[in-house]
């Protein structure tokens, strides 16, 4: 009986150790590969949180104005930039060509009046958001400063584990 208890305790301990080791290895693997892609808006923008669906609508220009009336302006990085790729992949769920065709078509059909802005640098994205009250952009967490406001996505801040927008770590 005692022997069995000992064996059970050993097994439980071994399992626990395995779990810990797995968790550590798995966690280490996630943080080492990805980092949060932060959503920034103008500081005058009262919004603090967006749902992922609202974010998709804003990005797809399905929703053109903020709730308080400001015009929405999407700011992205130029093609082949990791931030742009992450947004296209995780928010638009499009390739670059699909993205271009989408907005070309929307422009021709008049559904959108201005396509997302493309800026070369993360600083450009941040300064654009700073200057345009209705702008919303995507930058790495390291590129954020006080000139812009970081909003949550689905109620989760960029540092949270379940934050949905991620980008490959540099």
């Amino acid at each position: 009986m005692i022997h069995r208890k000992i064996q059970l305790a050993v097994r439980v301990a071994a399992l626990m150790c395995l779990c810990v080791l797995w968790g550590a290895v798995a966690g280490e693997a996630v943080t080492a590969k990805e980092e949060p892609l932060v959503i920034v808006v103008n500081k005058k923008n009262p919004i603090d949180n967006l749902s992922f669906d609202d974010l998709r609508k804003l990005c797809l220009a399905e929703r053109k104005y903020w709730s308080e009336g400001g015009k929405v302006t999407i700011v992205l990085r130029e093609p082949d930039q990791a931030e742009r790729d992450a947004v296209l992949q995780q928010v638009y769920r499009m390739t670059e060509n699909e993205f271009r065709r989408y907005f070309l078509q929307s422009s021709f059909t008049g559904e959108v009046q201005s396509t997302p802005k493309e800026l070369t640098t993360a600083n450009g994205v941040r300064r654009f958001v700073f200057n345009v009250p209705g702008a919303i952009g995507f930058v790495r967490a390291a590129d954020v400063d006080d000139s812009v406001k970081v909003i949550s996505l689905d109620g989760r801040k960029p540092g949270d584990v379940s934050y949905r927008l991620k980008i490959s770590a540099r």
């Binding site: 009046q113 201005s114 493309e118 300064r127 654009f128």
Partner: protein, 642 residues
Amino acid sequence: MDQLSNNQSSLTSAERFQRGIVLTALIVCGIGVFLTFDLYRSHQSGRKSYADVIRGMELIGQLQYQMQEARRIMLYALATTDSNRQVEYADQSRAADAQASKILAQFGQLMTSPDETRAVQRLETHWKSYLEIRDTLIASMLEGSPRAAVERDVSEGVPAFNAVRDDVQSVKELFQEKANRLLRAANSSFRDSLLRLVFILALTVVIATLAVKTLQKSSVLHVLTASEAQLRQSRQKFETLVNSIDGVVWEADPNTFQFTFVSRQAEDLLGFSVEHWMKTPGFWSGRLHAADRDRATARRLEAVAKRAPVRMEYRMTAAEGQEIWIHESAAVVVDNGIPVLLRGVLMDITDQKSAEQRLKAMHEQFLDISRRAGMAEVATGVLHNVGNVLNSVNVSALLLRDVLRGSRVASLARAVAMLRDRALEDLKHFLSEDPKGKLLPEYLMDVSGHLEKERLKLSAEAERLAENVSHIKDIVAMQQTYAKAGGLIEILPIADLIEDALQLNACTFARHGIEIVREFQSVPPIPVDRHRILQIFVNLASNAKYALDVSGRSDKRLVLGVALNGAEKVKITFADNGVGIAPENLTRIFSHGFTTKPEGHGFGLHSAALAAREMGGSLIARSDGPDCGATFTLELPMTLNT
């Protein structure tokens, strides 16, 4: 006591004076500090205002530049559709705006008037409005609506920027006005400071004047009174001193010699009043003796020309006409190289001059007496020798008288009378028969023998008498020769002169057993006064005879020497081995009246020394002491000194 009290009073006055000076100095220092502080404050105020204006103008310039820069960048941004360039322009514009805003914030510190404050506030308000419009323009531009952005810029941005520019211009004008105001204020401040300075200086002068007057009324007056008293005392001392001098202290014009001051003794000197001395033109030269006028005037002129002191003697004529001898000592007072005064002392030396003249007369008289004494000395020697000869003459005469008294001539006369009374027939009888007759021939033969002896004796005595008379004649003739030669310088052989002197004393030397030793070297004849040199030699010989006679020694000796002393002098020595001379007497043996002879009068050596000096020579005595003999050395020049 009064003097002590005066001193204490002076001391207290001095202390008061010092305190007054210190108080005045403190007031002046306080005023100086106030003035310095006032000037410093004005300077600081002006400097701060100037700096503010300069700073404001500089800020306006910077503000205008930054605004124009912001505006320019915005126009650039509106001209492009590249979002990246637009973002860069936007940042640059905001940076310029930030600089402008910062400058605007600095204006607040420079505003000093309500107008300036309101102008700057208006500028800030318009600037904020422009910035808001600018933000919307940037947003529109970045959102991709450049047309809307341009339209809004034209409709709102440009008017807003013009308003800002007008505000800046207004502020600039305000600063310019402020600068002008500051300039006026600086001028006014300078004028005010100057007025304050003048006022304070005037106040200082008033205070100083009041202080001086107060001090004059109190302590300074005492000090000045004491100083005046001291000055008066000094002047009295000076006048007393001047008037107590046995002479006339005077001051005169260096050009005209007109007296400007003379002491009171002037009245006693010439019998004229002091006013007469000073007010009579040409008084000094006018009272000068005619014989001294040119010389004295020339000496004074020379002294003035050379700025040198002068000492001279001259005669002046007193009021009553008597001649006054004056000794003048004067000095030239020079100011900046120009003679301004002649100052000196006149001394009455009339008595001194009289004494000098009397002394000179006495000297001449003494010389004459000395000469006469020398002559007497010679005459004594002459008479002595003549007397000695006269003794022989007297002896010869007595002998002749005795011989003549005892002569047998009378017996011969009686025998002749006996023969005359007898007849010739009886003569034969008488001679052959008469007893007396028979003795008569033998008697006659005896008488003739006696007469022959008497004749021979009388003849010899007569011969001696004639010799003695001839000797006397020679002595008198030599004396006459020397007596006639007085004062005449002749070139004579010195040895012959010594021989003449020895001849005068020859009998004396012979009688006292004195050996004469001659050590004569060959010397050329020298210029001498025959009489004076004989006087010296006779004196020396006489003294030597006396010294040898008194010594009592048997080997009395007088060594006479003649030799050259160098190339220019002849040395004659009279060296005896007599009693000698005590050291204490050597120094005064040539003094007038000094003698060691009981019957001496002290003229001999003194006159001999004077005679030697008159001939340009010297006479000295040397002796090793009592009983050591003495040597008298006469040195005479070989050439006559002019």
